[in-house]
């Protein structure tokens, strides 16, 4: 019995290792930002449909992994949604391929529909703690923020300025979980990628500007963050071709259709 299992498993292992080996195609690996990963996958599929000599693989892992793996060569292209790149990225050529609007969101049951930048700052700093102070019902405000270092949070803090997040703010580490948290708590406020707004959450007008694609493109809506692709050394070969494709009209159209904003 045990001998059989042993033989069986070693055979399986062998087959697994033998099973296919490389096919002489150029291979590009992207890794990093989980926020951009699905978009990169879609772009890669489109690109491969017309360029069948290239195989593009997309991995997640977060922006830090994007920078590390572009540096170590584990990936040819790193993806990062940071506002300012850290010094680890100094040898990398950075290209902004898309932008993302950051929407400040509340529960749909909330009466409040717009806030000023100052009010947002005071709420996140803990100076305003009740919705009635900004025209809502008498209920304590639950602040939900992203984790330290996150691209969305950095851009939020950079644009609202003067943020010193209050200690008991809830922290979530992805767009999806922030959306769930806000959707399930009538008194909460948070911020997410504007592409994620749906019927479960309500985006607020900030300084009377609505978070719409038009307003973001025209520059009226200020909460915007860039998405970088990072390449070690200079852009060349298939890597350059792929990034060029993303920046082309067709690529940018896909980005816009899926809820991000074009780079230019």
């Amino acid at each position: 019995m045990f001998k059989k299992i042993l033989v069986f498993s070693s055979a399986l292992l062998l087959i697994a290792i033998m099973w296919g080996c490389g096919k002489g195609k150029t291979s590009i690996t992207l890794a990093g930002s989980t926020a951009f990963q699905p978009f990169a996958e879609k772009l890669a599929d489109q690109y491969m449909a017309t360029n069948n000599n290239v195989v593009i693989t997309v991995q997640g892992g977060g922006s830090a992994v994007g920078i590390q793996s572009a540096n170590s060569g584990a990936a040819q292209i790193g993806m990062a949604d940071l506002v300012t790149l850290p010094k680890e990225a100094k040898d990398l050529t950075a290209t902004v391929v898309a932008k993302d609007g950051v929407a400040i969101v509340v529960n749909p049951l909330n009466k409040v529909t717009d806030l000023s930048t100052d009010q947002v700052r005071d709420i996140f700093n803990g100076k305003i703690t009740n919705w009635k102070e900004v025209g809502g019902i008498d209920a304590p405000i639950t602040v939900v923020s992203r984790e330290a270092g996150s691209g969305t949070r950095s851009s939020f803090e950079q644009i609202v300025t003067g943020i010193n997040l209050k200690k008991d703010a809830l922290i979530q580490d992805s767009n999806g979980t922030i959306r769930e948290t806000v959707a399930n708590d009538a008194n909460s406020i948070g911020y997410v990628s504007h592409g994620l707004i749906n019927e479960k959450i309500k985006a607020l007008k900030i300084d009377d500007q609505e978070c719409t694609v038009e307003n973001i493109v025209s520059g009226k809506y200020k909460l915007v963050r860039p998405i970088f692709l990072l390449v070690k050394g200079s852009l060349e070969g298939e890597t350059k071709n792929f990034i060029d494709y993303i920046l082309s009209d067709e690529g940018q159209k896909t980005i816009k259709a899926e809820g991000l904003l074009p780079a230019k």
């Binding site: 977060g62 270092g149 008991d168 809830l170």
Partner: protein, 285 residues
């Protein structure tokens, strides 16, 4: 196996044991190597006992997270261990074997549900329940303890069931024959005979509770706060590592690994306490 001979078998077994253990050792070294230098550079006292965690200002104090980790683990064990062990005894001693054979794999199924799924259930069901009934933000120490308590159930139940089943039937018969009720048999005979396995199940469950990240991140709220009530939002050591690792570079990243070192040492201390306490109680009995 005849070809290899008894000595050869022993050597092969020793080799596998050695390689398994060195793989585990490698992990331990990896964590220490990445994290220890930071702790000494930043200062042990500041790192462990300061409450100020503000990576972009270069402040790395993890005291609130140490407190939170202890509370969350404790809470998970208080919820999960009694439920699990009681369930294991009930299923083995009172429920027909044929039914248990279906229940057990189903319980083990729960070990395979991704922790993210538990996290979403926590956010969507448990947190509103807590918020509406007890107040607070909902995402809290209590929510994390409950979710973790549930997550360790499969480990505790399954391994306990096995060790209870391994108690020879003759022990039970001996006790029952002396006029003991099933319950008296359980707490005077079966518990004692299956203790080592039950302890192992709780320790492995505790390991899972301490080590769990994704679900905790989603339901604990993650504010860097020393909790004053079970309804406060907290951040555990594991949550801290996984929460910020995806954007962390440089010193920040090292600080997260240093958090891992503290966690590792914490686990060693908790396990030592557990084994000492349990051994002492065993001797008394």
């Amino acid at each position: 196996m005849k070809l290899i001979g008894e000595k050869g078998v022993k050597r092969i077994l020793m080799l596998t044991a050695f390689s398994a253990i060195s793989a585990l050792l490698l992990i331990a070294l990896f964590i220490l190597n990445e994290g220890l230098p930071f702790i000494f550079k930043y200062g042990v006292k500041d790192f462990l006992f300061s409450s100020d965690w503000n990576p972009h200002l270069g402040k790395y104090g993890i005291y609130p997270m140490i407190v939170a980790s202890l509370w969350v683990t404790f809470g998970a064990l208080v919820i999960g261990a009694p439920l699990g062990v009681a369930g294991a005894f009930f299923l083995t001693e009172y429920v027909p074997k044929s039914i248990m054979r279906i229940i057990k794999p189903t319980i083990e199924l729960l070990a395979a549900i991704p922790s993210v799924v538990y996290g979403f259930i926590g956010v969507m069901v448990l947190a509103p329940l807590i918020r509406n009934n007890f107040g607070g933000p909902g995402l809290s120490l209590l929510a994390a303890s409950i979710i973790l308590g549930i997550m360790i159930l499969p480990t505790v139940i399954s391994i306990s069931i096995d060790s209870i089943m391994a108690v020879p039937q003759s022990y039970r018969e001996g006790s029952l024959a002396l006029g003991a009720t099933t319950w008296q048999t359980i707490h005077m005979v079966t518990v004692k005979a299956s203790k080592s396995g039950i302890i192992a199940s709780i320790i492995l469950g505790m390991g899972r509770a301490i080590g769990e990240t994704m679900a905790v991140i989603m339901v604990a709220g993650n504010s860097v706060n020393i909790p004053h009530s079970p309804l406060d939002s907290v951040r555990t050591l594991t949550a801290n590592i996984a929460l910020e690792m995806s954007y962390a570079t440089g010193l920040h990243r090292q600080a997260l690994f240093a958090t891992g070192v503290v966690l590792f040492i914490g686990i060693i201390i908790l396990n030592s306490i557990a084994s000492v306490v349990l051994r002492k109680r065993a001797v008394k009995k």
